[in-house]
Structure formats: structure tokens, C-alpha cells
Symmetry: C2
Subunit: 341 residues, 2 copies
DNA sequence: TTGTAAGCGTTATCAT
DNA sequence: ATGATAACGCTTACAA
């Protein structure tokens, strides 16, 4: 049993206890092969006796290298981002690195606090899903020496590595699926348009609509204030209020939370899904498949997204010949009950 | 614009650039009042010119104090824990501390890796929702000097601070609610029984059942392998297979994920909820209210749980007269459509 | 108000 | 195979 001491045991304490020099202790820590089995054992015993815990600050200061990656999430409450984090962690673990997480919660002040902290900690690299991908603070981080990759967002220039999913294509897929099912009056539900991804998904929807040669007015656009469940409910009421001749027979929602809200409103008001209203969501979160009417959704390769981001970061941090890459993944439509013909 | 240099600028570099001594630079960092406005300004200019980022390892090594708390989550994909984390972060932020997160994902190896890492980083304190609250590794952490509080779990002894919710009472509330609604054949759905919380919720259910003087056999117990959506679906099929005379008219699920699965199975097989099957969940996650039939659920004060845990930890880390406390919160039943009479 | 210098715990180089 | 010693970048007395 170790005795909680007033001051944590240091290598020096271990050395004294084991009757060896401090350098030898460091060797059992870092090059165990360089030390004889007998002394190694003695040192290791002393370590557990004293409850020795290596001081990472000192190690890092001297060695000049950190063994951790950090991911600043946009919204830890959204299952999408925790899946991305899981992919990052898998890649980090495979490379012998640890991942620590932080949540900006969409607050710029918190985002920059966390960015600062991690820079000061000299993490090997930083992943971030930024509130604003164009923000100059990201460039500042990298200029100061911390490799940084942008996750699930893109930037207009190519000065960063980034991984994202083709949202224009995703919008296309959703609408093409509904057209295939014979729908000719469709609603896009989502917002605000300040979010680049919402814009892209809408654009993709419009492109597919135009390609089909349908009257542009038959694609109703319902802009919401946010992308949560309440927004979906509200949109449902707005759709229900339309004259039946103009009422859409299908809706494409900019994310699953919104789609779930719309679904709930429909069911509780007696609208049958998919017979009277087909619904397509976006993200394919776990709850989409588990909804009362399993939701057709555009799936993004979340875990793979994280994995790729981590790989890019590890390359940027370790490879001198590194060149920035903007990786764009392809989304995929998962058809379920909510759009069954 | 700062120039990305081959080696990060140090206080010494800043001192040289500003034409002052290294001690003065440190003063503008730590005691800005001790230095004249003129030199302070000069030093600050030099800092931005050089893109100076304070080295936290060196700071911490010398000052001996960390400004961060860490939370090792059990399952980052479960919205319950991210809400808890939010409460922790709020309390940490209020105390001028940062919070970093890690996910054990129910893997003991990962849990202990993360625990090790944070100990080595000498974080001010550690919060953890452990895979096994009785594990001796928790005691080892604390013995080695890192304050640790247990979150959403309890331990048999009182050697730790902990915060949890009264699960026996929660089970009681669920069953009493169903009894109030007139149900006399009820199923408990959840498992495995290795999880203390599942045991407690079941125990509460049984106590309430016994108090009502009903035949013990009329409380059907359906044990599941896990607490996810699939488990709920499977349980639904098992219930449907019972002879109608013995088939429960209501089910109490050990968490919302399971309840959502049960609900989905019921709806897709034509069982009307709540008319033919009433459902009570547990946790009151956001998706519970957003389900096709909004779910009655036992709510735990998640954010408050986190806040309280952080407060305990901060006290343990900073207050010499600290005494361990086991805080137990009271759950609350939120009635919704799924149990409407 | 500012400068000087010691030391935090570790790693790594060089002797032995 | 092991021991002595000089950094790493910073904070903090203490001296000027």
C-alpha cells in the first residue's frame, strides 16, 4: 500500500530509495533495456512503494514532445460530433497518442480559451470544428506552431488541412431520392442560412430539382431559426397550414433533429408518414433509425471523417514534406420507412 | 503578422526583443501591476510580434499548480453524460478552471490509460464515471495525490466524494405512476443486472409493487443484454409473445434508449401506445420528449449533477478541512403521452 | 520599478 | 551497466 505523501515522489526520491542514481531511474523509464534486470526490478519496486507518478510537465519540458492530440468540438451534445471524436481517438490510439476533448458549445469565447490552453500545453496537434472556419484566429494558432486541421467544415483558401462531406451532393441525393419516389411537391426545411452547410444542402436540393425540369416554385423552402427538434415541429405546423393544392407530399430536412421534430408533429396531428408526408433527414444519427417511423437519412461517414482528420494531423505534425489537403467525403442515402413508396 | 519560427519564442526571446530582463517579462505575465505601463506595453508588443505562447509545462513545473480539471466519461455517445459534462464545465469555468474530457467508452484499459495520463499531467482534480466504482485503481489515484470524485455512481464505502441519483426512488416513482394510471400488469425491462443502477431501479420497482399489495408475479421482469435501442426492440417482441392474459399493459424501461426501442417495436407491430402499452423510460434525454409518442421518463438532474460534482472536487482540491460527501439527488417523473390514461 | 539567480522534475550526454 | 551534470522555460524570492 502506498502512503499518500505531502509531496509527490520524484525520480530523485525513487533513486534514493532504490540506492541508484537518478539517471538510472530515468533509464528504466525510457530505455529499460539499458539497465540490468536486477536493478530495474529494484527501481520498479521503489516506484510502486513510493507511488511514483512521472511528472508529465517536466518530461515534456525537457523532451520537447507531447504525446497528445486535442479536439475542440462544436457541440458535444450532438451525437454526430461524438462519433467523429471516436474516429479521431481510434486513429490517435493507433499512433500511440492520447486524445483529449473540449467543447466550445458554439461559444466563440470558449473556443478561443480552449485553443489557447492547448497551444500553451504544446499538444502535438489540434483538431477543431470551428464556429467560423474563416476566422483569422485559426491561422494565428498555426502560425504559432501548432498544427491544426479543420473538421467537418471547409475554408475558402487551402491554407489548412480539412476534412468535410460534400453537402451539395448530399442535398442532391435527398431530392433525387424523393423524385424517384414520385414526389413533385417537396419542402426543404432548415436554417439559418448563415450556416454554410445548410446553404450547401439547399443548393444541392435546388440543383437536383432544376435538373428534373420541375417548376422552381414547387420546391417550398421553409427556413428555421435553428436545427433542433423544436424547429422541426414548427416547420410541420407551417406545412400543415398550406392549402392542400400547394402542400408538399415530402420534406427534406437539413438534419435529423429537425426531421425528428417534423415527424413527431406529423404523427401527433394525424398525418401519416410516409403515405401523406415522406421525410428525409440528414446525418443518420442513431436515433434516426430508432424513430417511430425509421427515418430515411443522408449518412455522413462520421467515424471515417474523424479518422481521416487525425491521419492528416499526424502527418502535418510529423512529416516535413507535408502538404495541406482538403479531403471531401461522399455522403450516402440510407432509405428507410419514412420514404417507403 | 507573426513569423512562424523554427523554435517557439520563449520569455527570454521576448525579454531581448523588448530590451528588458526575463524577470520583467514574467511579471507582465503574472503580476502586471508590478510593472510600469510603458514597459508593459513594450513587452506586450514584443509578445505579439514574436507570437509568444507561454509554455504551460514550464509554468506548471515551476509554479506547481495546474488550472485544469478532467472528466473521464463512461460513454460520450450517451447524451446523459454530455449534459453532466456541461454542468461540470459551468462550475469549472466559474472557478477559473478549464475542463478537458476523455471517453473510456466502457473499456477498462482506456479508462486507466486516461487516468494515468491526467495524473501525470498533475491536473487539479479528476472526475470519473467509472466502469467499476469499487475498483481499487480509483483509490490508487487518490493515494497518489490527485483528488477524485465519482460521478453518477456510488461506492460502498465513504472514502470518496460522489454524486449520484437515487435509483431506488426512481424505480419507485415509475411504478407508482403506472399504478396510479391503473395498471396492474407491468413489465420491468432492463439489464444486465451487473449494472448497479439497473439493480437499484428494479429494486425500487419491486418495493413499490409490494407496497401496493399486488401479486409479485404480475411484475414481469425482462432482462436485456444491454441498454440500447436494440435491447428495447427485442424486449418488445418478448412481451408480444406472452399470452394475452399475462401480457403487461405497461412497461418500465431502465433507460430511455431501451424505451425508445420498445416504443418503436410497439408502433411498427400495430400496438397502440399508450392505449395498449404504456411506457416509462429513464433519464429523460432530449430524444425522449421528441419521440413519436413523447415518452414519460424519470428525469435525473444531469447538469446539476455535474455542477455538484465539480464543486465537491474543487473543495477537495483546495480546502484543507475537506470532508468526503456522498451527494444523492432526487429524480423526478416527467409524465408525457406514453402513459396518458 | 527592474534585474539576477535558484530551482521545479525530467531527459540525455558524457564519463566512468 | 551506472553515475554525474547540463539543459528545457518558467516563477519567485531577493538584490539593486
Amino acid at each position: 500500500m502506498s502512503t499518500p505523501s505531502i509531496r509527490a515522489a520524484s525520480v530523485k526520491d525513487v533513486a534514493t530509495a532504490a540506492g541508484v542514481s537518478l539517471g538510472t531511474v530515468s533509464n528504466v523509464l525510457n530505455r529499460p533495456d539499458r539497465v540490468s534486470a536486477a536493478t530495474r526490478e529494484r527501481v520498479e519496486r521503489a516506484m510502486v512503494d513510493l507511488g511514483f507518478v512521472r511528472n508529465e510537465s517536466a518530461r515534456q519540458l525537457r523532451a520537447g514532445t507531447s504525446r497528445t492530440l486535442a479536439y475542440v468540438m462544436l457541440d458535444a451534445g450532438n451525437p454526430f460530433f461524438t462519433d467523429v471524436a471516436q474516429g479521431i481517438e481510434a486513429a490517435a490510439e493507433a499512433a500511440g497518442l492520447s486524445l483529449v476533448l473540449c467543447n466550445s458549445g458554439q461559444l466563440a469565447a470558449r473556443e478561443s480559451r480552449h485553443l489557447d490552453l492547448f497551444q500553451q500545453q504544446r499538444v502535438q496537434g489540434l483538431l477543431v470544428t470551428p464556429i467560423d472556419p474563416e476566422s483569422p484566429t485559426l491561422g494565428a494558432v498555426r502560425d504559432r506552431g501548432t498544427p491544426l486541421v479543420i473538421v467537418d467544415r471547409t475554408r475558402d483558401d487551402t491554407t489548412f488541412c480539412s476534412v468535410a462531406v460534400d453537402d451539395v451532393l448530399g442535398g442532391r441525393l435527398a431530392i433525387e431520392h424523393l423524385l424517384d419516389r414520385g414526389h413533385t411537391r417537396v419542402a426543404f426545411v432548415g436554417g439559418p442560412l448563415g450556416i454554410g452547410q445548410v446553404r450547401d444542402r439547399l443548393q444541392g436540393a435546388r440543383l437536383a430539382w432544376a435538373d428534373a425540369g420541375l417548376p422552381v416554385d414547387d420546391l417550398t423552402v421553409v427556413i428555421t431559426d435553428s436545427l433542433d427538434v423544436d424547429a422541426g415541429r414548427g416547420a410541420g405546423q407551417r406545412l400543415a397550414g398550406l392549402p392542400s393544392a400547394r402542400r408538399p407530399t415530402a420534406a427534406f430536412c437539413a438534419n435529423d433533429m429537425t426531421a425528428l421534430g417534423l415527424l413527431q408533429q406529423a404523427i401527433s396531428s394525424g398525418t401519416r408518414v410516409p403515405e401523406q408526408l415522406a421525410i428525409v433527414g440528414y446525418d443518420d444519427i442513431q436515433f434516426a433509425a430508432a424513430a417511430a417511423v425509421p427515418l430515411t437519412s443522408v449518412r455522413q461517414p462520421r467515424v471515417e471523417l474523424g479518422r481521416a482528420a487525425a491521419a492528416l494531423l499526424i502527418d502535418e505534425a510529423g512529416n516535413d514534406g507535408h502538404e495541406h489537403q482538403q479531403v471531401v467525403f461522399t455522403p450516402e442515402l440510407v432509405a428507410r420507412e419514412s420514404t417507403r413508396t
